[in-house]
Symmetry: C2
Subunit: 688 residues, 2 copies
C-alpha cells in the first residue's frame, strides 16, 4: 500500500523560469509587449464583418462576466442589450468575424482566432463565430488589475487547437445529474475551450432519456429521473451557443439492465430484471439473435438520431462479460450456425446491424475499445478507454480514434497524471501517416461516486489540465506552471457558477455536526485538505456496502481528488532535499515552512481524530486517518529536527519511523494521506 501511495505522491517537476502568462489552455503563439489597455466602465465594443445572434449572445455573456469581476456596469440599450460602438476606431474591443460558420458546431470546424491588444484597442479576429467565442475566453482570462485599475496587457496571440475532439463525458445514469449540473459544466467547458459534451445516457443503473417511441424505457428504467426531449433540446442549444457539440451515448449490448427492466424479452436471460443499485460489471445484455432487438433499436435510434443533431452517436459497446450469452443455448447455437466463432464475433455482428441502422439515419458510430474487431465498419470511431495500445490498434486498422484512457477523472488521480497523458506523445508508436486519425480525447466523469453536490469537485479544476493537453501545443508541458495557472483558472471556473470549491465548507459543516466550534471546523478543514480519496477503483473495497441511494457525504467526498496542501508540501520537501546545500546548512526559512505545516497537521490530526470519534459521526470511520496524520507529522518533525541539526540518525531509528509511516499509509473510509512519500524522504535524509 505504501508503494501505491508513493506513486501517487510523485514529486512534480519544478519549472526553472516562471511562465509569462496566466492563460489556460495556453495559446499556440503568444507575445507580450510593454503597455496596457485599460478596462473601465466606459469599455466599448464594435462588431466588424459578420454579425449574428450567436456572436452577440457570446459577447454579452463575456461582457457580463467582466462586469461581475470588475463591478462595472457597461452601457446598455433600453432593451437591456449592451451598446455597441458605431465608431470602430474608438472602440476598446473590435470583433472582426469573417463568417457565421456552421449553425451547429461540427467536428473539425475552424476554431482559430487571433487577438491583438494595443494600448488603444483590442482586436479579435476569427474566421467564424466559434473562433470568436474561443477568443472571448482568452480575452476574459487576460483581464488583470493593480492599484491603477483593471487592464488587459498588450499582447499578440495566434491560436488554434491541436486536436479537434476535446470532450467531457458525464455519466448521468449511476447517479442522476440534473439540468443545472450540465449547464454549469457547459459553462466551465467553454471557459477552457472544450468542445464536446458526451452524455452517457443509459446504464444498468438508469435509463435517463425520454423515448416517445418506447416510453417504457424511461418510465420503468429511471425512477422518474431522466431528461425529457425538450430538456435535451435545451441542452443542445445551450451547448451550441458555446461552440460545444453534444454526443449522446446509448450503451449496448451490455450495461443494459435498465433496457431489460422495460423489455425483459429483448435480453439474453429470462429475467425478471430490476434496476441495478450497486456498482460493478453486470450480466444483463441485449440478445443480438433476437430480431425484435433491432426493431426496437430501429425506432429508438431513429428517434435519437432526430433529437441529437450531431453526426456522431456513441453506442458504448464496453464490458459485456458474456455470461448471459454463454448461458443461453439458443445464442450459442446462433453463433455456431452463423460461423461467428465466439461472443466477440456475435458482438461484431450486432455492431454491424447497429451501424446499418445508424447509417440509415445519417449517423456515424462511436464505440468503446471493445467494438474494435476486423469486421468493424471502417467509418466507426473507436473511443479508447483501456490504453494506448487500443488507440494505436484502432488507428492502424484505419479508424479514427479518441482517447479517454488516462483521462478517467473519477479515479481521483492528479492533474499532473492527466496532463502528462498525451494522445500523441513525442515517442508515440503511431506512425505519422496514421496520426491524423487521433482526433483528441475526453475526460470521463463516471458517476458511481458523485452526486450533484460533489460532481463539480471531481471534474474541476483537473479537467482544465486535460483541456490544455488537448488544445495547446505538445511542448506546453511544464507541470509546475500548469498548477500555477490551474489555481487561477479554478477561480474563473467557480465564478461561472461551478461549485467545486463553494460546496466544501458546507459539506464540512454537515460532517462536523451541530455544536461544532469555529476551531473544530478549522481543524477539520486542515485535515480534509491533507487527505485524498483512494485512487482507481479502490473506493469500492472500502465502501462495498454503498448503493445508489447512499449519501455521498463522507470525508472521501469532501476531500479534493488531489490535495493542494500535500502537493505543495511535497514540492517543498523535494526542493529542500534536492537543492544545493548551503555551507551553513539548509535554509532556515525552508525548514521553518515545512515545520509549520507538520505542526499544523499534527495538531489538527489529534483534534480531528477525537472530533470524528466522539461527535462528527458521519466521519467516524475516517478517524484512524486523522490519528495517522498526527503520527506521520510527528515523524516528519523528528526527521526535520535531525536534518536541521545536521546530525544523522541511525538505521534503527529509521526503521522505526518507516514502520509508523507504513501504518499511517493504511487508508480508512476510503481516504489516505498523500504526503507520506515526502515525509519518508525526510526520514531517509535524516538517516541516510
Amino acid at each position: 500500500m505504501l508503494l501505491a501511495m508513493l506513486a501517487v505522491a510523485l514529486p512534480v517537476s519544478i519549472s526553472a523560469a516562471p511562465a509569462p502568462h496566466d492563460l489556460l489552455p495556453a495559446p499556440a503563439q503568444l507575445a507580450f509587449a510593454e503597455g496596457r489597455l485599460p478596462v473601465t466602465a466606459e469599455f466599448s465594443v464594435s462588431l466588424r464583418g459578420h454579425d449574428d445572434a450567436r456572436l452577440r449572445a457570446g459577447l454579452s455573456r463575456a461582457l457580463r462576466r467582466w462586469e461581475e469581476r470588475t463591478g462595472f456596469t457597461f452601457a446598455r440599450t433600453p432593451q437591456a442589450e449592451f451598446v455597441l460602438a458605431s465608431d470602430t476606431s474608438r472602440a476598446a474591443l473590435v470583433v472582426e468575424c469573417s463568417a457565421a460558420g456552421s449553425a451547429l458546431p461540427t467536428l473539425g470546424e475552424d476554431e482559430s482566432y487571433s487577438l491583438e491588444v494595443s494600448p488603444a484597442q483590442a482586436v479579435l479576429r476569427a474566421p467564424n463565430v466559434v473562433g470568436a467565442l474561443r477568443g472571448f475566453e482568452t480575452l476574459l482570462q487576460l483581464l488583470q488589475r493593480d492599484a491603477r485599475g483593471w487592464f488587459v496587457p498588450v499582447v499578440k496571440i495566434q491560436d488554434a487547437p491541436r486536436f479537434p475532439w476535446r470532450g467531457l463525458m458525464i455519466d448521468v445514469c449511476r447517479h442522476w445529474q440534473p439540468m443545472e449540473v450540465l449547464k454549469r459544466n457547459l459553462d466551465g467547458m467553454a471557459l477552457v475551450k472544450l468542445n464536446v459534451l458526451h452524455l452517457h445516457l443509459t446504464e444498468d443503473q438508469g435509463f435517463r432519456i425520454e423515448s416517445k417511441t418506447h416510453p417504457r424505457l424511461h418510465e420503468l428504467g429511471s425512477d422518474g429521473l431522466y431528461f425529457t426531449q425538450d430538456q435535451i433540446r435545451e441542452i443542445i442549444a445551450y451547448a451550441a451557443a458555446r461552440g460545444i457539440r453534444v454526443v449522446p451515448e446509448f450503451d449496448m449490448p451490455g450495461h443494459a439492465t435498465s433496457w431489460a427492466v422495460a423489455y425483459p424479452e429483448l435480453a439474453s436471460a429470462p429475467g425478471p430484471y430490476v434496476i441495478e443499485r450497486g456498482w460493478g460489471i453486470f450480466d444483463p445484455v441485449l440478445d443480438p439473435t433476437n430480431e425484435k432487438v433491432y426493431a426496437l433499436l430501429e425506432d429508438f435510434l431513429g428517434e435519437m438520431a432526430a433529437l441529437f443533431p450531431d453526426p456522431y452517436l456513441h453506442i458504448g459497446g464496453d464490458e459485456n462479460n458474456g455470461k448471459h450469452w454463454n448461458a443461453n443455448a439458443r445464442i450459442q447455437a446462433f453463433i455456431r450456425e452463423h460461423d461467428l466463432k465466439d461472443n466477440e464475433g456475435l458482438h461484431a455482428t450486432f455492431n454491424r446491424r447497429v451501424r446499418d441502422i445508424l447509417t440509415k439515419h445519417g449517423k456515424k458510430m462511436v464505440g468503446w475499445d471493445e467494438i474494435l474487431h476486423p469486421d468493424l465498419p471502417q467509418d466507426a470511431i473507436v473511443h479508447s478507454w483501456r490504453g494506448p495500445t487500443g488507440l494505436a490498434a484502432a488507428a492502424k486498422a484505419g479508424h479514427a480514434a479518441i482517447l479517454s484512457n488516462g483521462y478517467y477523472i473519477d479515479l481521483c488521480y492528479s492533474a499532473a497524471d492527466h496532463y502528462r497523458n498525451d494522445p500523441l506523445p513525442a515517442d508515440t508508436a503511431i506512425p505519422l501517416a496514421e496520426q491524423s486519425r487521433i482526433l483528441g480525447g475526453e475526460a470521463t466523469m463516471w458517476a458511481e461516486w458523485v452526486s450533484p453536490e460533489t460532481i463539480d469537485s471531481r471534474i474541476w479544476p483537473r479537467t482544465a489540465a486535460i483541456a490544455e493537453r488537448l488544445w495547446s501545443p505538445r511542448d506546453v508541458n511544464d507541470v509546475a506552471d500548469m498548477y500555477r495557472r490551474l489555481a487561477i483558472v479554478s477561480q474563473r471556473l467557480e465564478e461561472t457558477g461551478l461549485n467545486h470549491e463553494r460546496n466544501r465548507p458546507a459539506m464540512l459543516r454537515r460532517l462536523a455536526g451541530d455544536g461544532a466550534s469555529a476551531e473544530d471546523l478549522e481543524n477539520l478543514r486542515i485535515f480534509v485538505e491533507a487527505v485524498e480519496p483512494v485512487k482507481g477503483y479502490e473506493r469500492g473495497r472500502y465502501h462495498a456496502e454503498h448503493r445508489q441511494a447512499t449519501p455521498l457525504t463522507r470525508v472521501a467526498d469532501c476531500a479534493r481528488p488531489e490535495s493542494n496542501t500535500a502537493r505543495e508540501f511535497t514540492v517543498a520537501v523535494d526542493r529542500l532535499l534536492g537543492g544545493a546545500r548551503r555551507p551553513d546548512g539548509h535554509s532556515a526559512a525552508a525548514l521553518q515552512e515545512l515545520r509549520e505545516q507538520l505542526l499544523a497537521w499534527q495538531a489538527a490530526g489529534l483534534e480531528v481524530a477525537d472530533l470524528l470519534t466522539q461527535r462528527a459521526l458521519l466521519g467516524r470511520d475516517s478517524a484512524p486517518v486523522a490519528k495517522s496524520l498526527a503520527e506521520a507529522s510527528a515523524v516528519g518533525l523528528a526527521a526535520l529536527e535531525a536534518i536541521a541539526r545536521g546530525d544523522a540518525r541511525d538505521p534503527a531509528w529509521r526503521t522505526e519511523q518507516f514502520t509508523v509511516l507504513e501504518r499511517a499509509a493504511e487508508p480508512h473510509d476510503a481516504v489516505q494521506l498523500p504526503a507520506l512519500g515526502a515525509i519518508r524522504r525526510l526520514v531517509t535524509a535524516a538517516a541516510p
Copy 2:
C-alpha cells in the same frame, strides 16, 4: 449617524436559563423526559390511517434528509421507494394521519400535529397530511448525536400555529429570480413551517409572468426573464407538496411601467415607456377612466385566476404617487364628474372594478395598505406595510389583515428586530373582538439589492425568526435563545440546498481577486464578518448609480445583514459592564475574550484597508471602513486596558475617543460597523 448605528447595535436581552430544545419554530407544548429513541440504518416507518402520494412524498423527503445527515441508507424497494414496515408495533416511527385534508393547502387549514417519542417508537399524529408534514419537520429537527450514535430524545409535543397566514414574499421583478431560487426557498419555508409564498410578479422593472391572452406584457416587459405558465404550475405543485400556498401579486394601478411598455395606451400619460432600470417610486400608472384597462384586466386576471388555484389574489395597490393622474386633465375631469373627491377616490373606484372582476373569477382580493378606503369591499384583505396603525385601522374597518411592516428583510435589520415585531403584542391596540381578523404576516424580500447569488443570505436565517413569531405562542420571545436556535436551524436550512452561507467564501474570493493569499482571504473574512450593510433605504444613497444590471458583488453584498461577530461582541461587552464586578475586578477571561476580538479586528482592518485599496478593487470604496475598524478597535483596546487596570481615564481622553468612534461610524460603500455602540460603552466605562 452614530445615533442611528447605536440603535442598530442595541444589546440583545440575555436569557437567564438555557432553553430546553433546539426547535425553531418552538412548538406550542413540549415536554422532554429521560431516554432516547436510537436512529440507526434500520430505522423503519409505518403508516397508519390515511395514506396518499403527498404524504409518502413528504415522508420520502424527510427520510432522505435524515440519510444525508447521518450517512445511513435506509431500506428501499426495487422501485427506489422507502420500505414501509408492515408491523406497526415494531416500526421506529408510526405516522398516524386521519385524513387527506384539502388537496391544495388552504387558508385556515388545520396544521396541528402531535409527536410522542418513547425509547421504542415515535408516533406522529395529525388530522391531515399538512399537519403530518409540519410534524415531519419537527421530528427532523429533533435528531441529535453523541458518541453513542444518532437519536431522538424522548419527548411529547402538541403543536399548532398561532397565525394561519405565515408568508414569504419574493419580488422576482426588480432582479429576476429563476425557478431554482423559488424551489430552494420553498424547501427553506417548509423547514420553518411557513405556509404562503407570495410572488410579486409585476413591477416597473419587469413583467415576470407569461400571459397567453396578452403576450405583449411579458414579451415587451421582461427582457425574456419571466415564468412560463408551465413553470408556475410546477412551482404551485412543488409548494403544495410542502403544504405551502402560492399567492400571486399583480401590482396595479401603480408600479406599472412594464404594463405601460406593452400597452402605453392604457397608462395615464402618453408615453412612450421603457422598462425602468433604477430604483424608487415611479410615475407610470394605469388609467382607471379607460374602459380598455378593465377589458385587459378581465382577460388577464381571468387567465391568472385559472392559473393560480389559491382563492386569494394580491393586486398590490401601493405607492401610486398620483403625478400622472394629476397631470391628465381628462382623468381629473372624470374624478369631478363622478364625485370621487380626489385621486384616492379614483383609486377606490378602480379597486371596486378590479374586485368585481376577481369576484367573477372566484377570487378574493388582497392589497397593500393603500387600498384601505371607506369604499373598499369588506371581503378584501389589507396587507399592512406601513405600520401597526394601518393594521389596526383595517381590522377596525372589518377587514382581515396581514402584517409585513417590521418584516422587511430587504432592509437588513436584525433578526431580533423582526422577532420582537408581534402582529398582536400583549399591549395591542386592536380590541379582542377584532383580533381574529389578524391572519398573520409575511416577510418581504424586495429585490433592489439581491441577485440569485445573494438572495438566500438576505432571506435566511432571519426569516426563521419571523416564522417563529408567526407560528409559536406569543410568550416564546427570549431573544438570546432565539439566536442560539437560529444558528442551528441555519445549518439545517443550508443542508436543504440554500446558499446563504455557502456563497460567501466564493464571493470573498472574487472580491479579493487573483493572487490573494490565504491570509488575505482570512483577513477579508474577518473584516466582512465585522461589517453590515447600511440599514433601511440608506443603500440607495451610497450606491445611487446602481441600476438593474449593476453586479451585486461588493462588500455590502458579501456582508451578512446582521453580523454575528459584532452581535456576540456586543453581548459580551454588556455582560462585562452589566455584571456584578467581582472583588478582584472583572473576569480576566471575559476581558481577554474581548481583547482578542479587538486585536483580530485591528489587525484585519489594517491589512484589508491596504488590500482593498491596492488590489481588491471591487471593494476599494469600502477601504475607509476597514481603516475605521482598525481605529475603533484601538479605541476599544485602550478602553479595555483602563478597565482592566481599574484606573479611570479623564473626560478629555473620552472626548478624543468619541471623536474617533464618530468618524468610524461613517458608512462607506454602503457598509458600516455594528460594534461601535459596544466600543463606545467600553469608553464610557473607562472614563465614567
